[in-house]
Symmetry: C2
Subunit: 396 residues, 2 copies
C-alpha cells in the first residue's frame, strides 16, 4: 500500500482528535462509525488515518495518511485530496507532505538536477553564479545580445530571462533562443566556459510542450518556467518529455499567493521544495533571507533541504534570489553551501563598471569565500569586487 502523508498547522485548543478524524474521513470514505461491518471491511483500505496530533499554543498540528488507492498518481489528484476542500475550511496551512518511495517513483523528479547541471556547465567545486536580464521590456534584440554577451563574458554560469518577458515582437522567443545560442557558443569557443541561457517558456498551456521541443531543437540550453501561473502538473509533463532535454528552472512568481500567510495556504518547503522537486524542476528560485524581497532563514533552509536531501529523485539546485550583491556571497555560501546558485540582477547590472564587471565581481566573491579569504582582503587584489563592495557594502 502506498500513501501520501500530510501535516497541517491549525489553531491550538480545538478538539484536535475530533477535527483530525473529521478530515481523515471527510477526504476519503466520508463516514465510518455508522457503517455496517461489511461496508467497513470493504472500505478499510480507502480510509484516511490520523497519524499524529500535536496540540500546542497558539498552533497545533495534525498529520493524516491518505491511501494512494484513492487517487491517480498525479499532483492535481493528490492536491485535491489532501488540500482541496480542506483549504477552504477555516484556519489551516499545509506544512508538510511525504510520499512513500513507491509513489514517489511515479514522479520524474529533476531530469538533470545538481549533478547533471554541473556536468553541462563543467563546474563541480563551487556554487554557480547566475544573472538576469534587466529591463528588457520595450527593448530589442541588440540590447538582448549586448546584455547576454556582457553577462556571459563577465563569468556567470547561467543567464535567465526576466520572468515578465513574454513572447513579443521586439525580442521574439525563437530569436532569443537562436541568438542566445550563437552568443554563448562564441563565448565558449573563446573562453572554454559553457554558459546556459534559460529562455522564458510562456504562452498557452497546451502549446508549451511543442514550443519547448522547438526551442530545444533551435538550441535552447535551459528553460525558465513560471510554474505557479500554470500548474505543477504542466511542469511535470515538460520534465518528463524526452525531447525537452534541457534543465528547467522554476520561477516562484505567484507562489507568494499560496505561501506567504503564516496561517493559510502551503508552506514554502512543500510548494517550492518537495512538490517542485517531485514534479521535475532542476533549479528552484526563491527569495534569499537577505535581499530586497526576503524569506525567513528557517524557510529558505527548509526549501534547500527539501530540494537536496537524499530521496529517490535527483537533487535540484536551490537558487536564492532577489536583491543579491557580491557582499552577500559569504552569507549565501554559509547558508546554502556549494550546492547552490547565486542569482543576481541589479547586483550585476548596477555595478559601477557595467554588467561584465558585475558578473566578475560575483565570481571573485565566490572564489574568495572558497579560499577562506575575507571579501575585504580579496578586494585589495580585485578591482571589480572592490567597486561592488564600495557600492553595496558587505554586511557581517
Amino acid at each position: 500500500m502506498s500513501f501520501v502523508t500530510a501535516t497541517y498547522l491549525v489553531p491550538g485548543g480545538l478538539d484536535l482528535h475530533k477535527k483530525a478524524e473529521g478530515i481523515a474521513l471527510g477526504l476519503t470514505v466520508g463516514s465510518w462509525t455508522d457503517l455496517p461491518a461489511l461496508e467497513q471491511a470493504q472500505l478499510k483500505k480507502h480510509k484516511g488515518e490520523v497519524i499524529a496530533t500535536n496540540d500546542g499554543t497558539p498552533k497545533a498540528t495534525i498529520t493524516i495518511r491518505y491511501p494512494a488507492v484513492n487517487f491517480t498518481p498525479d499532483i492535481p489528484a493528490i492536491l485535491t485530496t489532501i488540500f482541496g476542500k480542506l483549504s477552504l475550511d477555516g484556519e489551516i496551512k499545509l506544512v508538510d507532505i511525504a510520499f512513500d518511495d513507491a509513489l514517489a517513483k511515479q514522479f520524474p523528479g529533476p531530469q538533470f538536477g545538481v549533478d547533471g547541471i554541473r556536468e553541462l556547465i563543467g563546474v563541480h567545486d563551487r556554487p554557480l553564479v547566475m544573472s538576469i536580464f534587466k529591463g528588457m521590456i520595450g527593448k530589442g534584440l541588440d540590447e538582448f545580445e549586448t546584455q547576454l554577451d556582457a553577462q556571459a563574458r563577465g563569468g556567470v554560469d547561467l543567464v535567465k530571462d526576466d520572468e515578465i518577458l513574454f513572447d513579443n515582437p521586439l525580442t521574439p522567443f525563437e530569436e532569443r533562443v537562436k541568438r542566445g545560442k550563437h552568443i554563448l557558443d562564441k563565448v565558449e569557443q573563446e573562453t572554454g566556459r559553457r554558459v546556459l541561457y534559460a529562455v522564458n517558456l510562456s504562452g498557452r498551456t497546451f502549446e508549451l510542450r511543442d514550443k519547448a521541443r522547438k526551442a530545444v531543437k533551435l538550441g535552447a540550453s535551459a528553460l525558465l518556467f513560471n510554474v505557479f501561473a500554470y500548474g505543477l502538473d504542466t511542469l511535470q509533463a515538460l520534465a518528463e518529455d524526452p525531447e525537452i532535454n534541457v534543465p528547467i528552472m522554476a520561477h516562484p512568481a505567484v507562489s507568494g499567493a499560496l505561501t506567504a500567510s503564516p496561517d493559510y495556504g502551503i508552506a514554502n518547503s512543500v510548494l517550492l521544495g518537495k512538490l517542485l522537486r517531485i514534479a521535475g524542476a532542476d533549479l528552484v528560485l526563491f527569495p534569499s533571507p537577505y535581499g530586497s524581497v526576503a524569506l525567513p532563514k528557517e524557510e529558505t533552509d527548509a526549501i534547500a533541504l527539501a530540494l537536496t536531501e537524499p530521496t529517490v529523485h535527483r537533487a535540484a539546485y536551490p537558487v536564492p534570489s532577489a536583491g543579491i550583491h557580491p557582499g552577500l556571497v559569504p552569507h549565501l555560501v554559509r547558508d546554502f553551501g556549494e550546492i547552490s546558485v547565486i542569482n543576481a540582477g541589479g547586483g550585476i547590472h548596477g555595478h559601477p563598471d557595467g554588467s561584465a564587471a558585475g558578473a566578475t565581481a560575483f565570481r571573485q566573491a565566490v572564489d574568495a569565500v572558497l579560499d577562506d579569504t575575507s571579501l575585504e582582503d580579496a578586494a585589495l587584489q580585485k578591482a571589480e569586487l572592490a567597486a561592488a563592495i564600495k557600492l553595496w557594502g558587505h554586511p557581517l
Copy 2:
C-alpha cells in the same frame, strides 16, 4: 491601447505613492526617472501607471494599470505580471482586477453560461438544484447508478461527482459517463426533465482535452473540473474547444490556499469570480455564508456579482455550496436570486427518507420561496420538506 488594472490591499501608513511607483515600474520597464529622454519616449507605452492610492488604517489600497503590450493575452502571463514576484513581496493581497473590453474579448468566457444552461435543462424561472454523489470512494457502479437515479428522480437539475473521485477501477471515468447518460436519458423519457451529470475530469494536464472530447462523444452532459489543482489557462483551453461542447463546472478545491488569508493571496471575487468567468467556467462552486464551511456574506456577494454582472462575457452560474439543507433555501434565494444553483450533498443524502426524498424536499423549498410561502406553511402540505425541516431546522 489595452490594459489590465489591478488593485492591491497593503498595510496602511507606508509611503504609499512610493510603494505604488515601485510596483508600477518594477513590474514593467524597471526604472524611469534616471532614463534618458529618448529611452523614456521608447518605453512610454510599456510603463505601468499608478492609477490610485487610498491610504487607510489598518489597510490601504494601490491601483496600477499595466499595458497589455507587455504580455501575451493569456492568464499565466497576466498573473505573472500583476502578481508574480509581487506576491512574494511582503503583506499584499490582490483584491481587484479589470480588463478593458478589447482585452477581455480575447478570452472566451462561459460557452453556455446561465442562459445556455437554462436552455439545456429547460428551466428558466427558478434557481436550479444540484446534488453531489456521496461516499463513492471504494464503491462500485451499482452504487453509482442507484445514487444517480435517486437524485435525478427526486427532482434535482444537476448531479455532480465528488471532487475527490478520480479515475479508478471501481467506477471508471468512461463507465460513469456511459451509465450516467443511460440513466438520465431514462429519467428524461419518463419524467420529461433533463438532468445534467458533471463527471470529474481529472488526470494529467496534457491528456485532459482528449479525455474531455471523448467524454462528450460518449454522452457526458457536463464536466466537473478542479481548476485550481491545474491552472486557469487549462480551464480556458477546455472552454475554448469546440468539441467540448458541454458546461464546465469549476470546483474551488485548493483555492482556499490562495484566498483565505485577509492579508495575502487573491480575493475570492477575483479568483472565483472574475478570473473563472473570463477563463470560461459555466458554473462556479463556492462555500455559501451559511453552511459547515462558510465564507463571509460580503465575499459570496462579490463572487456572485463578478459572475453575473454585465460584461462582454456570458454570465456564469454562482453555486453556493457546503452544508446546505432545505431550511437554508430562503436565505440562498434572498442572497443569490433566481440566477443561482443550490447545491447539496449531505442535505440530500441525509434525508430521513433517502436521497430521492432529499432532492424533492429541496425542490419543494424552492417552490415555496418563489410562491412567497413560508417553509413552515409549505411543510404542512409537503411531507419531504417537513421531514427535512424537522431534521435540520430552518434558521430565520
